[in-house]
Amino acid sequence: MQIKPHKITGVYFLDNNLATRGSTVYGERTFGDYRFWDPRRSKLAALIRKKGDLAIESNHKVLYLGAASGTTVSHLSDIVSLVYAVELSPRVARDLIRVCENRMNIIPLISDAYRPDYSQVVELVDIIYQDVAQKKQAEIAMKNAEMFLKAGGYAFIMIKARSVDVTAKPREVYKAQIKKLEEMFKIEAVRELEPFHKDHAAVIAKIT
């Protein structure tokens, strides 16, 4: 198998597959200590596939909104120095806790990102990564960026068209959400995540 480092430090190409290095978490395929990172499972992996380069550095602190069972969080924790992982639903948070138990650089927070109650805990972060299944996705990103994102920091926002409005066309949902985000961010890129994720788009936004 041919191993090549990706432009993002900590991410690798194994032949044509994305991978990070760390201990296995959710039964993903491994090769040595390389963990394959399936873009069909992880929107961040899909975004890296689509976009190529992202401003993620090994010394970064990340605020992760919508951590779910911690699949993507675990890969991100292989790459960056610290992840504040926010998840609202206690049921999936059970899996997230299991991931945290095996990793020293994830801070689990069972909270609603729309009503942040983690203000005493979360430091200034370099990146906000957001993948929430709630309606007010733009508002959540802005609220958290206002509180926690450093000047010049990036927000990677995965817009789930279906969560915002089931009936509207996904592209129109993206447009409307992006328009809201523009109040606070400079939108650097938008990528639809087809074919990996249906009706999802990733917005790369820099705080102004």
């Binding site: 206690p90 945290c100 109650d117 005493q120 200034l124 926690f148």
Partner: protein, 309 residues
């Protein structure tokens, strides 16, 4: 980092601090054990903290003597938040499921009571208010004090009305709880039916583990066992009969629709039990399938009608 010359009162998970001109002037630190820190965090000070202060958390922790290194800061925070997360999960899990079940069962109790009481009211006061029944009768009695209606009857009617209101509140509560607790089940089955299915099976987890053929006949156990024991016709549907797709369809099609609905309910319950996301395509798929089936069967009917004439 350049801090402005302001005074900041900073409330953090490990203590309260005052910063003047970028220097720490006073501090109260929490005892460094999980319980004390948890108490401090649950105090939940919402603070409109200057963003730039957020860069100083570790510095403050070290210079106030709470921890000795960066590494220890993260270790301690991790230990505490992990414990807090475990607690929150435990709390929520042991409650939510059961709370919703209690609610939906109490609705059934209230319905029964309302029927009983409003029947009594009709018998008691029905002669004075001809043709009126149920809610209308209650309203008429309450608003007719000047007609010298029995004060006791008014009281009675007010109570039944209150009961109806309470029922509505509980139903609203179930709707909102269900859509966050089990969004897919709620989307496919509706909040009340979804909650009833959970109550019949003992919880979402149990419902998720059931085959959809069982889900189809939950609540029709009498008929099911009669079928199994005596070979009578199997039931077409249990409580999923309450779903409009079933009970608003032609009798000849209800069995098929109930089967489709049950399979989608099973999938929805499993999604909710093992993930958080909402998959609206589930309901859309079901509706499309039902529509297709209806068209097909009406076409067949037409053809048969053509043949016989």
């Amino acid at each position: 980092m350049k801090m402005s010359d302001r005074t900041y009162n900073v409330h953090l998970w490990f203590g309260d601090f005052k910063i003047e001109n970028g220097a720490l002037v006073s501090s109260t630190i929490v005892k460094k054990n999980v319980d004390s820190i948890l108490k401090k965090i649950n105090g939940r000070d919402t603070l409109n903290l200057d963003k730039n202060c957020r860069n100083l958390f570790r510095n403050i922790a070290i210079s106030s003597g709470f921890v000795t290194s960066d590494l220890e800061y993260v270790e301690t925070l991790r230990e505490v938040t992990l414990e807090l997360a475990r607690k929150r999960v435990l709390e929520a899990e042991s409650k939510k499921d059961q709370q919703i079940i209690q609610c939906v069962e109490s609705i059934d109790d209230i319905d029964e009571s309302i029927n009983l009481l409003s029947e009594r009211l009709t018998e008691w006061q029905g002669l004075k208010f001809e043709y009126l029944k149920g809610e209308e009768l209650e309203r008429a009695i309450i608003s007719s004090k000047e007609m010298r209606c029995d004060a006791l009857a008014v009281d009675f009617a007010v109570m039944v009305t209150r009961l109806r209101e309470t029922r509505q509140h509980i139903a609203d509560h179930i709707s909102s709880e269900m859509s966050s607790f089990a969004p897919n089940l709620t989307n496919v089955a509706g909040a009340l039916l979804g909650a009833r299915l959970m109550s019949k099976t003992g919880g979402l987890n149990n419902l998720a583990k059931m085959p959809s053929s069982t889900v189809q006949v939950i609540g029709a156990s009498k008929a099911l066992f009669r079928h199994l024991r005596y070979g009578t016709k199997p039931p077409k549907h249990g409580i999923i009969y309450q779903h409009p797709l079933v009970n608003r369809s032609d009798v000849s099609q209800r069995g098929k629709i109930a089967r489709m609905l049950a399979s989608k309910i099973s999938i929805a319950a499993r999604l909710d039990n093992y993930s958080t996301n909402l998959y609206p395509e589930l309901l859309e798929g079901l509706e499309r399938k039902v529509e297709k089936m209806k068209k097909l069967s009406s076409k067949i009917e037409e053809e048969n009608a053509d043949k016989t004439t």
